[in-house]
Structures are given as C-alpha cells and as structure tokens.
C-alpha cells in the first residue's frame, strides 16, 4: 500500500463539529498565507524570523506558538464545560468518542504546546540579556528546538482533520492506550507528536543549561545572576533529567503498538503499572519545569514594581534548588491507590508535603519584598499578586492531596482536577502572562495597552475562580473527572457556574487579543524610548528596546547583584552617562534554515509513521540526516557587525538616555 493506513475514511466527513472547526482553522491559515504573500512579507519572514538564530526572535516565536495554541486549547476547554453544563440526564452535544478526544487534546495542548513553549520562550528571550551575553550557547540548535516543537503542535492539529486524536487522556495510560483497546491512529498521533517535540524540548534544555552555566558577562558570578536565571537553570536541569525518561517511556509504548512488544500489555508478562511509574518520574518534575521559570518571573516583577531588591536572594536560590531536587522524589503521589502499601505511600506523602516548605519560603520572600516598598500596580504586578493568593490556595489543596488517606477519597475526582488547574493556571499561566506583559516592551519597543491589560486580568482572575472553585465542591460531592454525562442533580448548579467562569475567561482572552491590536495601533504613544519602561533593576533594561542582534555594544562588567540599578543610580546622581566605550567589531552567528528544514522532514516522518507509510518515513529520516550534513558542511558560520554600525546603534540609545538625564537635571534646577 502506497499510503499505508491512510484512506478517505480518515477525513471525518460525517462529524460536523471537527469538520467545521478544521474548516475554520484551514480558512484562517490559508488567509494568513495569502495575506503574507500578497503583502510581500515572505522574504522578510524567511530572513528575519524563520531562519533566525537570534535567541530573542526564537523566544518570541515560542511565545506566539504558545498564544495560538492557548486559543485552540481554550476552545476545547469551553466545549467541555458546555457539554457538562447541559449533559444532565442527557447526551449533550458531544458524542463520547469526540468528548474523549477533546479532553485528551486539551491537556496535551495546554501542557506541551502552551505552557512549555511559553516558559521556554520567555527564558530564551530574557536569560541571555540578563546574563549580559550576546547569544545562547548553541544558536542553531535553538532554532531546531523551536521548529521541532512546532512540528509536534502541527501534528496534534492535523489530527483534527486527518484521522482522530487519542481518547486516552493527556497521558496515555495502558492498557487502554495499547493497540488492542485503541486500534485507531489517535494514540499514534499523540506518540509521534510528543516524541518529536520532546527532542526539541531536550535541545532547548541542554542549550539553556549550558548558557546559564557557561556564558556570562565578565564578573557575572553565579550568585550575582538574577533570580530568573537561577530558576531557568533549575527548570532546564529538570528538562535534561526528566525528558529522556518521557522519551524512553513513549518509545516503549510505541514498540508495544507497532511491533507487538509487551512492556505494558495485559499479556506475556507486561506491567502497566510500570508505565505509571515511568511516566510520573517525568511527569512530576514536569510541573516544576513549568512553575520554576514562572517563580523567576514573579521574582523579577515583584522586585521591579516594589522598587526594592528581592528580599532574601540567597534563600530564594536555595529554595529553587531544593525544589529542583525534591521534585524527583514525589512521583508516586500520583497513584497512591496503586497499592504500594502504607510505608511507601507515607514516604511519598511526606516528601510531597515537604515541597511546601521551600515554596513557602518563596512566597514569604515575595511578600517581604513588597513590604516597605513603593508598589506600583502595573499589569505584571497584578498578575504576580493574583498568583500569590491563588497559588497558596492551590498549594494547600495539593498538600491535602499529598495525605494518602485523603487521596484515596479524592483520587481522579474533580477535586484533583480543580487542584492542578488552580496551580497551573494560577501559577504557570499567570506567570507567563506577567512575563509577557513585562518583557513585551523590551521585545517590540512599545508597551501593551494598560487599561485593556487590566480589564483582561480581572476577567481571567474572576473567571478562573468562578470556573474552578466549584470543581473542589464537585470533587467532594463525588464527581469523577472526564464525565461525558451524569445524572446527579446536586452537581448541575456547580457545573453551570463553572461554565459561566469559562465564559468570563473567554472575555479575558478576547480582551487580550484586543490589547495586542490596540497596542500596535497606538504604538507611537506607547513607545519605550530608552529601553527601561518599568524602572528595571536587571541588565536587560540596559539595552535599547528592541535590543540589537548583538544585545550589548560592549559587554558590561558586573560588580554586584543589581548591576543595571547601580549604573542607573550613578547616572542619576551625576546626571550624566558613563563615558562612551571603545566600540569594536562584533561576530554574530549566521542565520540558518537548518531548524526549519529538519522540522519539515520531521513532520513528514511523524505523519508517515502515524499512517504506516514506511517509504515516506525512510525518505524523511534520510532528509533530516542530509540536512545536518549540509549544515555541517558550511564554511562560514559567523558574520561581522562593523564597529561603526555598533557605534551608531549604541549612540542612538545613549542620546535617548542622556535626554532623560537632561530632563532630570532641568527638574532639579527648577526645584
């Protein structure tokens, strides 16, 4: 068979909802492509973005991917909320096999293609700037990592039109995910999408660990790095240590499904509980991979908007690294009900509860940073404050779930679902949004519209509470997760309230989209002239907004924990900038299409493996290898930015900053 299992039956012509959804997505994609082509943006996009190896551009592309996938994942969410609001003694509008695909796709998208790219994007963008570096350790690999992540997201979305997605939840637990019980291509879409994007994530992790540990401005010792760099280090160490386990586990399941192996089957000695252990050995560190960078964002934001240095910097570093270590010692709390016995459960219950200690240290440090400060309630700070309140609630329900006897009652109930939405929305997503608002002016040279940002913030926060606090009640009332329909009258009011919450969140998302459009239109008024819109303290605010490709005209020499704050205070006292430095030529890595081309082949490889089109898989694998050989053969991997050009860019920023100092001097004279 030339096309493997792929036939016309794979297109869901008899199911209106996915067909219409896919049609809308298709029309939007085609419209965007036509618009880009007609406007003549293709060469610009190819040269400046698609082949870019600039960490800032790649970071921005990660965030864009995350925002687009957030919309897709949210549509899934509101569809589920609507289904549960109406499916009382009724079938609702989503048939079970479709409902099951939606909750699986929702979780997969939100974790792997929203939360992950969002935090990796923020780290990519900000960390080299904060370290006083010109780039990351491996710029081209960085691009490969991004494009492989995009491939994974693309495959999940292709499953909407061609074939089906997994019906097994966001983690495909065997034996349900084995070929015998899931004979379709849904689980295969899941597996290949995550195997490919997992490589991308691993590459990003290796790159960022090496960057944080090896690439610094002179004098930037480890204990002078901003908190965000520390949490980036911790998070990426976890990626390097945990993602290979995910890959290995998914490989085992793939072998079960494709070649009749017996890792997790019911027959021939397979052990499905081994899957639970392996997947959660990755899965628990994964939640810290997501939350730790956000803790870093909060540290930056709280300190900047309280106009004070971060309280207890070293205890914060310690708390971060302790969480990094402890996160590998708690995985069994995801399945206390396995029956490992009281002793094992007690050990894992205690280690889980202990994580609350370093997290508590962090919360108190943020509170003490605010204490006595002049707090400015800008949008990033609002997200940070909402996080502190929300995350404490989520953390307390987490500690409750860490008590094995309580967990036996609450396992797989909506209480659990409410808990992890509480920490992931209230912790990770709020943090990502804080970082997005905070670094947006640095990335694009103008601030986001403050009023719309605040309106969207309030919708999100209120919407979250209305949508998820009922989940705790429902869980205590005995409602289990992933129910397509139900017949308990007590649940209905709460589910209708939760639906209302989802609608309020929808308003928040609409306002965020509006915020982007309005901010672009009013960019002249929102312009960040000097590159320091928030009166920042860490080094990234010493660069112009947006920063030039080389970040720093001259590498700064670091002499304290808040180098930029010190430079700024000195300038404010003396009312003049430091003397102009001697500019030199700067070598920067050349752009490369390697990432895009290898992801192109990886997409075909994944698609071919899903549909058993073996010849195409072989061809695509060869293409990916050939791409790397071609890359390895190039002779020039760097280009020179001449000293004149560097001087021109830096002088423009210096004159903008001097103008501010002159205004300051004039004000002092007037007084």
């Amino acid at each position: 068979m030339l096309l493997g299992k792929l036939t016309w039956d794979a297109i869901p012509l008899n199911q209106p909802i996915p067909l219409v959804a896919a049609g809308v997505v298709g029309v939007v994609i085609v419209a965007v492509l036509i618009w880009v082509t007609v406007k003549g943006y293709v060469p610009y996009l190819w040269k400046e973005w698609i082949t870019s190896v600039d960490h800032k551009r790649i970071g921005v592309m990660y965030c864009v991917l995350a925002l687009v996938m957030l919309v897709r994942g949210f549509i899934d969410a509101i569809m589920m909320r609507s289904q549960q609001a109406i499916a009382f003694h009724a079938q609702g509008y989503l048939p079970p096999e479709h409902f099951n695909q939606i909750f699986s796709a929702h979780g997969t998208l939100m974790i792997f293609f929203v939360a992950m790219p969002f935090v990796i994007g923020l780290m990519n963008f900000a960390v080299p700037l904060q370290l006083g570096a010109r780039d990351v350790a491996f710029p081209t690999l960085n691009s490969v990592g991004f494009w492989l992540t995009a491939t994974g997201a693309l495959l999940v979305n292709i499953s909407l039109v061609v074939g089906e997605f997994a019906r097994t939840g966001w983690l495909p637990f065997p034996p349900l995910s084995e070929l015998k019980y899931s004979p379709g291509v849904g689980v295969d879409y899941y597996l290949w999408s995550l195997l490919i994007s997992g490589v991308g994530t691993l590459v990003a992790g290796i790159n960022l660990v090496t960057t944080v540990l090896k690439i610094h401005a002179p004098g930037m010792t480890y204990l002078r790095m901003p908190m965000f760099c520390w949490t980036t280090l911790a998070s990426n160490l976890l990626i390097v240590a945990a993602f290979p386990v995910l890959t290995a586990t998914l490989v085992m399941l793939t072998l079960d499904r494709y070649l009749g192996f017996h890792f997790f089957t019911n027959e021939a000695g397979g052990n499905m509980m081994m899957f639970m252990n392996l997947i959660w050995i990755w899965g628990h560190p994964e939640v810290y991979i997501l939350i730790l960078p956000c803790f870093g964002v909060y540290s930056e934001v709280v300190s900047t908007f309280s106009h004070k240095p971060l309280f207890g910097y070293r205890s914060m570093v310690m708390a971060t690294m302790v969480i990094c270590l402890l996160s590998f010692m708690v995985w069994l709390h995801h399945f206390f009900t396995m029956g490992a016995g009281a002793d094992v459960n007690a050990v894992f219950g205690i280690t889980s509860a202990i994580i609350a200690v370093p997290t508590g240290v962090k919360i108190f440090n943020w509170l003490f940073t605010m204490y006595g400060g002049r707090v400015t309630f800008s949008v990033p700070m609002l997200w940070a404050i909402a996080f502190m309140v929300t995350f404490v609630i989520g953390g307390m329900t987490g500690v409750l779930l860490a008590v094995p006897p309580a967990d036996f009652l609450l396992h797989n109930s909506l209480f659990l679902v409410a808990h992890f939405h509480n920490v992931i929305i209230g912790g990770v997503l709020f943090g990502a949004f804080a970082g997005y608002e905070y670094w947006f002016p640095k990335a694009f040279g103008f601030k986001l519209h403050e009023g719309l940002g605040k309106a969207s913030f309030w919708c999100w926060v209120v919407g979250f509470y209305v949508a998820w606090m009922p989940g705790y009640v429902l869980g205590l009332e005995g409602m289990t997760r992933r129910m397509q329909h139900y017949d308990v009258p007590e649940w209905r009011p709460w589910l209708i309230v939760a639906e209302g919450g989802a609608v309020i969140i929808l308003a928040g998302i609409v306002l965020q989209v509006a915020q982007i459009f309005v901010s672009i239109r009013q960019r002249a008024a929102l312009r960040d002239e000097i590159g320091d819109p928030w009166d920042g303290r860490s080094l990234e605010w010493a660069t112009p907004s947006p920063p030039p490709a080389f970040n720093y005209a001259v590498l700064p020499t670091i002499e304290g924990e808040e180098p930029y704050w010190d430079i700024k205070q000195l300038a404010r006292e003396r009312l003049t900038l430091r003397d102009e430095p001697a500019y030199g030529d700067i070598e920067m890595p050349r752009n490369s299409p390697t990432g895009f081309v290898s992801a192109f082949f990886a997409t075909f490889l994944g698609f071919a493996m899903i549909w058993h089109i073996w010849w195409l898989a072989g061809l695509a694998a060869f293409g990916a290898f050939a791409t790397f050989v071609v890359f390895a053969w190039r002779d020039e991997d760097e280009y020179i930015i001449p000293a004149d050009e560097v001087a021109r860019i830096d002088r423009a920023n210096r004159s903008a900053r001097s103008a501010v100092l002159k205004r300051l001097a004039a004000m002092q004279v007037a007084q």
Partner: protein
C-alpha cells in the same frame, strides 16, 4: 535607596555580605572558549542520554523475570559471543582515542587509519549483535515472545542503534576532515564524537554486567 526601604529590609538578609560593595569575587564570570562550551553542552546531552538508558535499564530490571513461560537469559545468552562484542567495543574505544590524538596533532594519515580501525571494530560489534538478535528471532524468541524479551531487545537494541548512529557519524567526520581539514569547528565535532563513542562503552559495561553476566548466572 531611600530610608524607608532600608527600614523595611535593614539587614539585607540573603544578600552576599550585606552589600555588593564587599563582594570581591570575580571568578566564574569570565568568557569561556567555544571548545569548552561545545564540550560542556555535549556532556549534558550525554548525561541525558544516559538517563534515557536508565529508564530502559529500569524497565529491564522490572521485567527480567516476566518470561511468560518462555526462555530466560540463562537459556539464551552466549557469553562467548558477548565477550567478543565487548572486546571489539573496548578496542574501538582505544583506537578512537588514538584518532583523537591524531586529530590534535593534525596528522591526517594517523587520524584516517585509527578511525578506519574504529569503524571496523564498531561494525564488527553491530554485526555480532545483529547475528545474536537474528538467531534468537529465528528460534521464536523474538521481542513479542515475552515482556522479558521485549525489555531485552529494547535495551540492547537501543545501545546497538547508538553504535550504528555513531558509525554513520564516524564516516561523516572522516569525510569532513577529508574535505575541510582540521578546522576548529571540525576539531570540536571530533571531540564530541569521541565523547559519544566512549560513553557508549560506559553504557555497554553496565549492559554487559546487568543483562548478560547477571542473566547468564541466574
């Protein structure tokens, strides 16, 4: 900083020595050479690769007795064959080291000969392993026979795939030196390749012990 702030955090708890002014350390913040950065990054990749193997090792340890009334390691493993494989792999690591020295000294002939010998030993290893797999398969003891055999084929096969990928990489490196000479970036790649090749030895030592020695001795 204004007085109000100092009152809110008078001791600057957690900040080094109270204030940056007392900080004298400058170490650890200098600029690092590309060679160090590449080697360091590749080490981190190798660690992640070893962690992936550890998952396969763990699966093997869990499933080693799940033979489903089929054969166990004791019935299947031929230690003579394994000894030969081990000898091939360890010798290839030695010649790989010779090739690295050749590259450092910019001796093309030395480099080519040592890399060729490394390739032949590696190829011999892969062929011996393929023969072992084929004979087990032919006897009806393929990976679908039992969970034990699934874990065995996956763990050992994953190492074999790594060696095969290494062979492909080895040939690419020889071609690169032939076409480009000992350029700085190519020397960095040779460094990474030799790290990779030696790491496969380390994994093989674990594999040889846990799978074959412990399996045959049961």
């Amino acid at each position: 900083m204004s007085g109000a702030h100092a009152a809110a955090d008078p001791y600057r708890i957690g900040h080094y020595g109270g204030s940056h002014q007392y900080t004298a350390e400058h170490a650890g913040g200098g600029l690092v050479s590309k060679r160090i950065i590449t080697g360091y990054g590749f080490w981190i990749f190798l660690l992640s690769d070893i962690i992936m193997f550890s998952a396969f090792f763990a699966a093997y340890a869990v499933l080693v007795n799940a033979t489903a009334d089929g054969p166990s390691g004791r019935d299947l493993f031929d230690l003579g064959n394994v000894a030969l494989e081990t000898a091939f792999l360890l010798l290839s690591s030695f010649t790989c080291g010779i090739a690295s020295i050749g590259a450092q000294r910019r001796r093309r002939g030395w480099f080519y000969i040592a890399m060729t010998v490394t390739f032949l030993f590696g190829l011999g290893f892969v062929l011996l392993e393929a023969r072992e797999f084929a004979s087990m398969n032919a006897a009806g003891y393929g990976p679908s026979r039992s969970a034990f055999l699934s874990a065995f084929f996956t763990l050992v096969g994953c190492h074999g795939l790594h060696v095969s990928a290494g062979l492909l990489w080895l040939l690419t490196m020889m071609a690169q030196v032939f076409a480009k000479g000992f350029r700085a970036d190519i020397l960095r790649r040779i460094l990474c390749f030799s790290l990779f090749w030696h790491a496969l030895d380390i994994i093989w030592v674990g594999l040889f012990t846990v799978v074959y020695l412990m399996g045959a001795g049961q």
